[in-house]
């Protein structure tokens, strides 16, 4: 078990906070992957709903993550930048604007700073309009559940997840699942119990972590 400089073991520090701390290290591939796995859907979904294509949205994901990588150190030390949730929203918006500018070949908008520059602009979340806030909040919550499901997918067997998907998400009757997959009813109930419990637990953990950022 590793300990940080405060003497606390990682066990007693909120995981997401620890993750953001670890992201300062460019070489920490596992932490960056965890960050990417948790947030890419959120960024991608917002980009798609802004009218970008799949390819453009993928670029937004990449460029936003690069922006986070470049400026996470400053964010960690400057609380004026607000919450991580608001900061990530701003980065995503700017990268979406970049893609729209590319499409229309408009000159760079001075109101939308290019985070490739060395200075990170201070862009309080209060400056954003209410609709955007609501949309982001909705996406954030959706992403929370999806991130929990994604994490659980990595831990349970693929077969158990398929059963959970058919019974819980698609509401198939047990008899149809057993005949389609060639398994017993007991296997269906066991998979449902295990996967549902894991997702609930993971969602609670994520919610707690995100509130503490």
């Amino acid at each position: 078990m590793s300990s940080d400089t405060t003497g606390f073991t990682e066990e007693f520090v909120p995981t997401r906070y620890t993750l953001l701390s670890r992201l300062r290290d460019w070489e920490d591939n596992d932490s960056w992957k965890e960050f990417f796995d948790t947030y890419w859907r959120l960024i991608y979904s917002v980009a798609r709903k802004s009218g970008l294509t799949e390819v453009e949205s993928q670029e937004v994901v990449q460029e936003t993550v690069i922006s986070v990588a470049k400026h996470i150190h400053k964010f960690r030390h400057d609380r004026k930048l607000g919450s991580f949730k608001g900061w990530l929203r701003n980065l995503t918006r700017w990268r979406i604007a970049d893609q729209l500018r590319k499409r229309t070949k408009l000159p760079p908008d001075p109101e939308l700073p290019d985070l490739d520059e060395s200075e990170l602009p201070e862009f309080p979340s209060e400056q954003l309009d209410g609709n955007s806030d609501t949309r982001w909040e909705k996406e954030w919550q959706t992403n929370l559940l999806q991130a929990a499901i994604d994490r659980v997918k990595q831990r349970v067997s693929e077969e158990q997840y398929q059963i959970f998907d058919l019974q819980v998400l698609r509401q198939w009757p047990v008899s149809r699942i057993t005949s389609t997959l060639g398994i017993s009813a007991a296997q269906v109930y066991l998979a449902k119990f295990r996967v549902t419990a894991s997702i609930k637990k993971e969602a609670r953990v994520l919610q707690k972590e995100w509130e503490e950022i």
């Binding site: 591939n29 960056w32 992957k33 990417f36 890419w40 859907r41 993928q58 994901v61 590319k102 997918k153 990595q154 831990r155 693929e158 077969e159 997840y161 398929q162 998907d165 058919l166 998400l169 005949s179 389609t180 997959l181 060639g182």
Partner: protein, 318 residues
Amino acid sequence: MNPETTSPPPSIPEHELIRQIGGGSCGTVWLARNALGAFRAVKIVQAESSRFRSSLQSELNGVLKFEPVSRLHDGLVDILQVGGGQDAGYFYYVMELADDIATGQLINPEHYVPRTLAHDLKKRGKLTIGECVRNGAAIASALGFLHRQKLLHRDIKPSNIIFVNGFPKLADIGLVSKISGPGGQIGTVGFIPPEGVGTPQADIYSLGKVLYEISTGRDRNDYPALPEVLTDTAEDRDLVNFNKIVLNSCRADYGRRYQTAEELLSALVSFQFSRYDPRKERARRLLIILVSAGGLLLFAIIITLFVRRFLWLLRHEP
């Protein structure tokens, strides 16, 4: 076109560049005609800023490793010529041309659109299980060959599988590298395994995701969910069985995946030989009907004999 490479393309020896047919962050792909009039695809990678120098060298290294083996397996796109270099600020490679989506190998330069697995998937939603097995086996065979050369593809996805004379081939070799061990998140999101690229098992994972998309019609990020519509037809029963191969290719724990492309190929071939055969199914159903009818007839005869015997006994009872 990539904004970093907006300058005119360099001239390619013995080739006339006709028009750009593709492009991405690492270069542009052109439809070209060689001195003999044959159509080719030419990829040009230009590094107009220092930002792209390292990726240019990285891709060039991969192409130079891939080129000697590319023509030794039918499932790999043929690299016919390589030129330029880092000192020139660009390099290019000439490849065989993919079929046109409408006319196959009859190329009309004005309307040419390359046929890829992604195109087929987009057009048809999903492929039949028979097509999934054939495409999967062809690419698994090519992948096994590449791995035996100690090389990895690292970017297997439907848009990087082209058809030449109707035969699927692994293309877009920009990320080809030597086997290095797990780690790194290079490639395309959703096709990269949890442990990262760098091993043959990572390529197998990516191919498994391709098989998932083409067999279910769902996005790779939905994995392992089964198709939205699943009926009690023979094709869907095949799909459920085929899905077991997909799961064994894409296990999150890479130790539980097929360890070699040959294992995956073997599973696909075995599946093909054991899969649902409509003639066998008809024969099986006919047999069930005949046996059932025979049983009923026998039962009726026994009951009739029993009743007759019973009535006879009643009549002759003293």
